[in-house]
């Protein structure tokens, strides 16, 4: 009886802690926005807020994919490079080759945006598949595989583009990055729709459950009959899908694709996921958290820009935030362990 009471007491205190941990990003976001609103009146203008959201949507798409990866206790450092490579391939398809790559404006002879988008996603998925395969079959740790991938895809992008950008697309291509539906930018809609779908997959499907199980305890998952290898491989494919989709949206927004696109994105993306409460140890995290985390990072960067804080200092701040978020996660984990 005493034992039951004790465990009930423990569970309620843990739940309070868990509640705070879960909504901490949201609370932090609201506070941050309030601070910026007071310090910098331009921040709260609707133009600026939509602008923030438009910027957030690219890294946000990547962060959705990264959530799948980190839920299995993996990591993908290659996202920025893969995005650059996939974006160039999409651009080349849209332009119908590498001939008039600098023609700005319409009237090209390329293929439609549909094929371009498909090509971007295909490159992303293929890149993810190769990495997932290396991790599960060659048993190389994800950190190493994707660190290698980071270099390989960047090199491939530079090689493919011969160093220069590919610019100038048809209007129906650029609409995906620059267009609006009502007042809402199209990339924001893509980001939120993908977030919703990913949420449904993780929360309501067998596959989603299996990801949490594999991340929570891979040995227990294997002994429960789950195909752990396939599940781990699949999350890198999903990551690749979002890298491809993100590259298409980014190229559309900038009306240009270049080999140096997405440099340093891995840091922003991982920070978004971790700040959103997903544990680097795997098995714990939500898409809701990741969306909030992405917006949080976007708001932070935007506010700092408006306040004329140098981009060097921004980098320092992001780095510190990542370490703090993981420290918090480690603390939360030790709390869970104690029980």
């Amino acid at each position: 009886m005493a034992e039951a009471r004790q465990s009930a007491a423990e569970s309620s205190s843990v739940d309070l802690f868990g509640f705070l941990a879960r909504f901490a990003p949201l609370i932090f976001l609201v506070v941050l926005m309030a601070v910026f609103a007071v310090l910098e009146p331009r921040f709260m203008s609707s133009i600026n807020l939509f602008n923030v959201m438009r910027q957030v949507s690219i890294t946000g798409l990547l962060a959705i994919g990264m959530t799948f990866v980190i839920l299995t206790a993996g990591i993908d450092l290659s996202v920025g490079s893969l995005l650059a490579f996939a974006g160039l391939v999409a651009a080349a398809v849209a332009k119908g080759g590498m001939q008039d790559r600098f023609t700005v404006g319409e009237g090209g002879v390329g293929y439609g945006w549909e094929l371009a988008a498909l090509a971007a996603i295909a490159v992303g998925v293929a890149g993810g598949l190769v990495q997932g395969f290396s991790i599960t079959r060659l048993k190389v740790p994800p950190f190493v595989v994707t660190l290698g991938g980071m270099s390989v895809f960047r090199g491939a992008a530079l090689l493919f583009a011969a160093g220069g950008p590919i610019s100038g697309f048809e209007h129906d291509f650029t609409w995906w990055g620059q267009g609006k539906i009502g007042p809402v930018p199209v990339p924001v809609i893509i980001f939120l729709v993908c977030g919703l779908l990913a949420h449904i997959v993780l929360r309501y499907t067998r596959y989603g459950r299996q990801i949490y199980a594999v991340g929570g305890n891979p040995e227990a998952a294997r002994l429960s009959g789950l195909n752990v290898t396939a599940i781990i491989c699949s999350v890198y494919v999903i990551m690749g899908f979002f890298a491809g989709l993100g590259s298409f949206v980014l190229a559309a927004r900038l009306n240009s694709a270049e080999a140096v696109a997405g440099t340093g994105y891995e840091l922003t993306v991982i920070a978004s996921v971790v700040i959103g409460g997903t544990s680097l140890f795997g098995g714990v995290g939500t898409i809701f958290g990741t969306v909030i985390g992405s917006i949080l990072i976007g708001v932070l960067l935007n506010g700092l820009v408006l306040m004329n804080v140098s981009s060097y200092i921004q980098q320092i701040i992001i780095g510190v935030i990542i370490v703090l978020a993981v420290a918090f996660d480690t603390f939360a984990k030790s709390r869970r362990r104690k029980v």
Binding site: S11, Y204, R206, R209, Q210, A213, E219, L223
Partner: protein
């Protein structure tokens, strides 16, 4: 009587050590004289490991006194124990495989001047030490390139380099061949002649008779007996090890007429590999279990019980052997295959191998059965899922706050019920339970036993592995004993006693017991 003048080298009295929920040691004493080989014996869970950890300074006792050389000492940490000359050689060696013998012997205590290591001195001193125990190797050889027996000698050399006065050896012979065991005994005797005392922990009672001078037997965290090896027989030691009154709480069941054979295993063999030289081998294990029957597998740690279960379940690959389900030969390479053939496994370590501790009870119960509670094979029907949890909460009497409670917050007994619920939800033909009641309190143990009875009554073929003989004797209808990877005997529960089983587990023959 001159012996009485010199106090014993080591004297522990009234040692008490509690862990949450269990009293591991309850007033245990141990007395080791100078220049003796002392056997520390007991069943699994008798408290040997805890006592060794206290001696090694890895854990502090709650109460009790330790006298070393007649003076009271506190072994606050491993370093303090080593300074006194108490060195432990664990079953799993603590050597760095990619470093040389010399580096391993002097790790952390490298001879030299200031920050610089004197390699020549280190090599020369290592050479002296390893020659002393008969290891003919270059001190610069990498430990990776040594056999298990040679690695053990490096451990011994390291102990000697620390000027040990007591060397504790935990199951030193379990990974050695017969010839290597003989060699080890020679070394141990030589060390004794040089004035070192040895505490020898083993499950092999023949070895105790051969090499040890005195013994101490622990049982259920208390002293069961101590004395001179020359004054006792193997049967006498066995009686001391098991001689508790059978717990009245552990009820038998009336075995019903078992059905057809559900699972049969023929000549299952799994050998060590280079990657895993300490793995327990299993050789030619054959057994079967019928529907509605509970087969108990008894054996000491390292007998190969868990390895047999894991091989059958596809958790570890095996080298040869056949598995038949309902009389048909099946191929099992992964747990998925086993589950598809209706076999389930409740593994021995529920926290590491079964549970998703930070996740909800609901998802822990349903993880293996998601395809049965879904829509279109894709979505999980959470209403059905909650129904499933509720069904098994009632059936197994799981005490929990609600289906969303994290499983890590439950007591051990309720955690185990969650694991059982997961497997029952799959409606298995065969369920293997490995140490089903480890680390759970007595009341929950009885509940788990009753659940096993209930499963058998419903027609499931149950294989129950347990280190606790009273548990095997109360739960099983038929018992198979194992030792060192082989089946050593089989008997009906009605014919078995703790003494006969212990003899089959430690001696490897049935004839002796009969």
């Amino acid at each position: 009587m001159t012996v009485a003048a010199a106090p014993p080298l080591l004297k522990m009295t009234g040692i008490v050590k509690s862990f949450p929920g269990v009293k591991a040691l309850d007033g245990v004493g141990l007395e080791v004289k100078r220049q003796e080989i002392h056997a520390l014996l007991g069943e699994n869970g008798a408290g040997k490991s805890t006592l060794l950890k206290i001696l090694a300074g890895a854990q502090s006792p709650d109460q009790g006194e330790i006298l070393f050389d007649g003076k009271p000492v506190t072994l606050a940490n491993p370093h303090a124990a080593q300074r006194l000359g108490i060195v432990t050689i664990y079953q799993e060696f603590t050597l760095a495989p990619d470093m040389s013998i010399a580096e391993n012997v002097f790790i952390g205590r490298e001879p030299g001047r200031g920050p610089f290591v004197s390699w020549s001195r280190m090599a020369a001193e290592t050479e002296k030490l390893i020659r002393r125990i008969g290891l003919e190797r270059n001190p610069m050889t990498l430990v990776r390139d040594l056999s298990v027996a040679e690695q053990q000698m490096v451990e011994i050399a390291r102990a000697l380099s620390m000027d040990s006065r007591v060397i504790i050896m935990d199951e030193p012979t379990s990974a050695l061949s017969l010839a290597e065991v003989e060699k080890l005994f020679k070394i141990v005797r030589r060390l004794k002649d040089e004035g070192i005392s040895i505490i020898f922990v083993t499950h092999r009672l023949e070895e105790v008779m051969e090499v040890c001078d005195r013994y101490t037997v622990l049982r259920d965290g208390r002293n069961a007996g101590a004395g001179s090896v020359s004054d006792i027989t193997i049967d006498g030691i066995i009686r001391l090890m098991v001689g508790r009154e059978v717990n009245a709480l552990f009820a038998h069941r009336e075995a019903s007429e078992p059905g057809p054979v559900a699972l049969e295993v023929k000549k299952l063999t799994r050998l060590r590999t280079a990657q895993d030289p300490h793995a327990t081998e299993i050789r030619d294990v054959s057994l079967h279990v019928r529907r509605g029957e509970i087969l108990g597998i008894a054996g000491l740690v390292g007998a190969g019980r868990t390895e047999t279960a894991r091989a059958i379940f596809g958790a570890d690959p095996f080298d040869s052997g056949d598995v038949f389900v309902d009389g048909e030969l099946v191929t099992i390479r992964t747990p998925r295959d086993a589950i598809a053939h209706g076999i389930g496994l409740v593994p021995e370590d529920r926290k590491l191998q079964a549970l998703f501790l930070s996740q909800a009870i609901r998802t822990n119960v349903s993880v293996a059965a998601l395809d049965r509670i879904g829509h279109f094979g894709i979505f999980v029907d959470e209403a059905k899922e909650r129904g499933l949890v509720e069904e098994y909460r009632k059936l197994l009497n799981i005490r929990m706050a609600g289906p969303e409670q994290a499983v890590g917050n439950l007591s051990g007994g309720n955690q185990q019920k969650v694991v059982l619920a997961r497997w029952l939800a799959l409606r298995p033909k065969v369920l293997i339970v490995d140490e089903p009641t480890r680390g759970i309190d007595v009341g929950a143990k009885v509940e788990v036993h009753n659940l096993l009875f209930e499963m058998a009554r419903s027609g499931i073929a149950v294989i129950a592995i347990s280190s606790e003989l009273p548990e095997v004797l109360s739960v099983a209808d038929r018992i198979v004993t194992m030792r060192e990877g082989r089946v050593t005997g089989e008997m009906l529960r009605a014919d078995a006693t703790q003494e006969t089983l212990m003899a089959m587990m430690t001696l490897g023959t049935t004839s002796r017991a009969a």
